[in-house]
């Protein structure tokens, strides 16, 4: 009975959504307002203006950089949320399920992980640094970075990771995302420009491009390092188990 009512309500909602979807302009047509209004400028001048061959990177770091600052703040908030609920891991008081598990991890897994992780980290760095030219960017790389930490923890145990990545450094790295934006954004502010402006007119034109690249790189690295550390920290905080 209850289920029936829910299904009926949800169905009504579906009809509402579908009626909206049907009235939208046909998907994939270049005449769509979504395609003809702002996008042409991005596609035609984006590389010049934003300084990235990958237009998406140009948008997320330059045209809509403020959004991305919000985005990195959201993950920081999420980490703070997890910490608020569960608290940090503490080597003296906590272990992880992995440590407590009696199943001996097989040699093959250990070897493969040990071999692969350096490459994974290298790949992550490539994605972070090469975001302007190819698919990927700060956050994607960061996620892979975080995943490599997770892989290490799952194979070699909780205490190793906590020891290798001390809390002090992680605390600093976690805030790297917003911090990167702050550093890059404030430079423009000091030159009398708007926040997050990367082109500094007072500098010789030859160096303008270089400075912009540098600033964008700071942001990318900030997002990557910050994102990766946060994912690792969230994982550690959730994984820990209180010692009796």
């Amino acid at each position: 009975m209850k289920k029936g009512i829910i299904i009926f309500a949800v169905f009504l909602f579906w009809l509402l959504l579908v009626s909206a979807m049907v009235s939208l302009p046909p998907m994939g047509s270049p005449e769509n307002p979504a395609y003809s209004h702002i996008v042409p400028r991005y596609l035609e001048e984006g590389v010049e203006e934003a300084g990235a061959h990958n237009i998406i990177t140009g948008i997320i770091l330059n045209y809509r950089g403020y959004d991305t600052m919000g985005e990195v703040t959201v993950i920081l908030t999420a980490l703070m949320g997890v910490l608020a609920v569960l608290g940090r891991e503490n080597l003296l008081h906590h272990t992880s399920k992995v440590d407590e598990s009696t199943i001996e991890r097989s040699v093959i897994v250990k070897c493969v992980v040990r071999l692969l992780v350096p490459f994974i980290i290298l790949f992550a760095l490539y994605i972070i640094l090469h975001g302007a030219e190819s698919p990927g960017g700060g956050f994607q790389g960061g996620a892979i970075l975080g995943a490599s930490v997770i892989a290490l923890t799952l194979t070699f145990g909780f205490s190793l990771t906590v020891k290798k990545l001390p809390l002090k450094y992680r605390t600093v790295f976690e805030s790297a995302g917003p911090l990167g934006f702050f550093i890059s954004g404030v430079i423009g502010l000091f030159c009398g420009l708007n926040f997050l402006t990367y082109i500094i007119p007072s500098v010789a034109p030859a160096y303008q491009d270089l400075i912009r690249h540098l600033l964008l790189l700071i942001i990318e690295i900030g997002i990557g390092v910050g994102g990766g550390t946060i994912i690792a920290s969230v994982f550690l905080a959730m994984e820990k188990v209180g010692k009796e």
């Binding site: 399920k97 960017g137 959730m238």
Partner: protein, 81 residues
């Protein structure tokens, strides 16, 4: 616009979504959810969004699934508990 592969992928998406809903075993549901995310990543790749496909594969199918798995390991495995 629509290619048969796309239609197939989209239908598979629906199937996995319903699979997530109907599976009583949470671990199984999490795995199916991972498959769902992966399919989504492929759909996006088909739509010309490799950036997103990469992100979804790393975050949606990777990190999110791991988080689900931890949560399940720390709590319950059966849906009705």
């Amino acid at each position: 616009m629509l290619r048969s592969l796309d239609v197939l992928l989209l239908i598979f998406l629906l199937v996995t979504a319903i699979g997530v809903v109907c599976t009583k075993d949470l671990l199984g549901a999490a795995i199916i959810f991972s498959a769902y995310s992966f399919t989504m990543a492929i759909v996006w790749q088909q739509l010309g969004a490799p950036d997103l496909a990469l992100t979804e594969a790393a975050v949606g199918a990777g990190v999110t699934t791991v988080l689900f798995l931890i949560a399940i390991s720390r709590t319950v495995r059966r849906e009705d508990e």
